[in-house]
């Protein structure tokens, strides 16, 4: 047991560190190419100048405003899309009638590239926040909708039967069985939805915004400051990863029982050993 724990520990550390080797090498190579003038700095500024641009933006006092408005758009769009997707997914997942009624239409809408909605959203909702948030909501909608529907449909009918056998129905059945059984799929959907929300906020902000990280990208291009573009990209990466991680950790809290397969197998062996010892 101690031996295998040590093996897992070592695996985790070297696995994490191993993943950092390639980016570190690439960064060093990139910095070297820029320093020695191989890469033209007006196209590919060195990592150090990207960090400097980031610092200048921060010291200029405008950076936090850009971050804030982008985060707010992502959050609002994500919440809106998720809310609608959860309700519709729950309906289509739990009732064949609703599924036959709604799902074909939603699947048809899904096949429209979501960016194609931009002109009509701007026409309907104006060029300000409403059209942006709506676009992000559309992006976040589909993964959440699909996973909610699939998650509910895939709930083990046998577990539902156990619940019926013990007198559960209605709200109690949903709360004690359907909800926990659907949660893993739902969290997968939420993470997918959040990823698309980040994608769509860039699209929305590129289409016309006077602030936000997407605006920084566009501004960097129009004013010929590639370091600013890369700085904005870096910020997208950081915040995208951070929010996904937050969601993943929150999900883990609720689905810890799923854990990973290897862990479960080892425990199974361990528990069976204990059982044998007890029986002896």
């Amino acid at each position: 047991m101690r031996h295998s724990l040590a093996r897992i520990g070592r695996g985790a550390v070297s696995g994490g560190a191993l993943g950092l080797v390639l980016p570190a090498l690439l960064l060093a190579l990139w910095e070297a190419l820029s320093r020695f003038g191989v890469a033209p700095p007006n196209l590919l500024p060195a990592p150090s100048s990207v960090l400097r641009a980031l610092r200048d933006l921060w010291l200029g006092g405008e950076l936090w405003g850009h971050i804030e408005i982008t985060l707010l758009r992502v959050l609002l769009g994500f919440l809106l899309g998720t809310a609608v997707a959860t309700v519709l997914g729950a309906l289509t997942g739990s009732s064949a009638l609703w599924r036959r009624l709604l799902d074909p239409t939603l699947q048809a809408l899904r096949s429209i590239p979501s960016i194609a909605w931009v002109p009509i959203f701007i026409l309907w909702l104006g060029i300000f926040e409403a059209s942006k948030v709506t676009l992000i909501a559309v992006g976040a909608f589909f993964p959440v909708y699909l996973q909610t529907m699939a998650g509910i449909q895939q709930v083990d009918r046998k577990l539902v039967e156990v619940a019926r056998m013990h007198g559960y129905g209605g709200v109690a059945l949903v709360r004690r069985v359907l909800l926990p059984a659907t949660l893993p799929a739902y969290i997968t959907g939420l993470r997918g939805g959040l990823g698309l929300a980040w994608m769509f906020v860039v699209a929305a902000e590129l289409m016309g915004a006077s602030e936000g990280l997407g605006f920084l990208l566009l501004d960097g291009q129009q004013t010929g400051r590639p370091a600013n573009i890369l700085a904005a990209i870096l910020l997208f990466a950081i915040f995208g990863k951070a929010t996904d991680l937050a969601l993943a950790l929150l999900g883990r809290r609720f689905t810890a029982w799923q854990d990973n397969f290897q862990h479960a197998e080892e425990n199974k062996g361990h528990a069976a050993d204990q059982a044998r010892l007890q029986e002896v």
């Binding site: 156990v162 056998m165 013990h166 559960y168 004690r176 029982w257 425990n267 199974k268 361990h270 007890q278």
Partner: protein
């Protein structure tokens, strides 16, 4: 007393069960054997209230069974534990009608009875197949049902685990005396456990013969009289294939 009165069940046009009549005394153990497709599981599900008969009725102490009810517990072929609940919480799952503060001690006592006291906090995925099935038995018994139904409860387990769980079930029965109606395709299992073995045949599902097994417990699996019964029941089931129809001597 549990009475199954002229119960028939049709799926579409197919008759799964035809006019089953069976009365089970309080505290009696009845084992139902039969080849697959003879409707024995369907019969059990009807008694459990999970399915409605097409005609006829199931009556428990004078009250018709219309759906699942706390007096009747059911153990399925698979443990069917909620993977997100600990073993103890899975047992407490059957106690929703009890006051909150009673659930935990009752669940722990039930787990102790099936020898899983040390695993109350474990998750189902950490248990072996036999342990998980014992947890399922604890869940079915924790609310002290008057009738315990078991649908091929040990068929997914290896022979050694199966024997030990059979013994275990008898210990529980000695302590609590629930009426037990179980379905199996293991004739020996039926003979070792039951006061009465009911042989069912298919197309349509019906009771072909019943044998009262008046041997004292514990019974040895190798006992000569059990083997004689086993041969007779095998004949019963083989006759179904050959299509000949002789009346079994021991039929009640």
């Amino acid at each position: 007393m549990l009475q199954i009165r002229r119960v028939s069940k049709k799926f579409e046009a197919m008759a799964a069960l035809a006019e089953i009549d069976l009365a089970v005394d309080r505290g009696e153990i009845v084992g139902i054997v039969g080849t697959s497709g003879c409707g024995k599981s369907t019969l059990l599900r009807i008694v459990g209230g999970l399915e409605q008969p097409s005609s006829g009725s199931v009556v428990l102490d004078g009250v018709a069974v219309a759906g699942p009810r706390p007096e009747v517990g059911l153990v399925f072929q698979e443990p069917r534990l909620m993977p997100w609940l600990s073993v103890r919480e899975n047992v407490e799952f059957a106690l929703a009608q009890r006051p909150r503060d009673q659930r935990r001690p009752l669940a722990e006592a039930a787990l102790a009875r099936v020898g899983l006291g040390a695993f109350a906090a474990a998750l189902p995925q950490q248990l072996s197949g036999g342990m998980a099935q014992r947890a399922a038995i604890a869940r079915a018994l924790v609310a002290r049902p008057q009738v315990l139904l078991l649908d091929e409860p040990f068929s997914a387990l290896d022979a050694f685990t199966r024997f030990s769980l059979q013994d275990h079930l008898l210990e529980i029965w000695r302590a609590e005396r629930p009426t037990m109606l179980f379905v199996t395709h293991d004739i020996e299992e039926a003979l070792v456990l039951s006061d009465r073995v009911v042989v069912m045949r298919a197309k349509p599902g019906r009771i072909h013969a019943q044998y009262r097994i008046d041997l004292p417990r514990p019974r040895r699996r190798t006992e000569a009289r059990l083997q004689a019964w086993k041969e007779r029941i095998l004949e019963d089931l083989d006759l179904a294939v050959k299509g000949a129809g002789a009346e079994p001597e021991f039929a009640i």
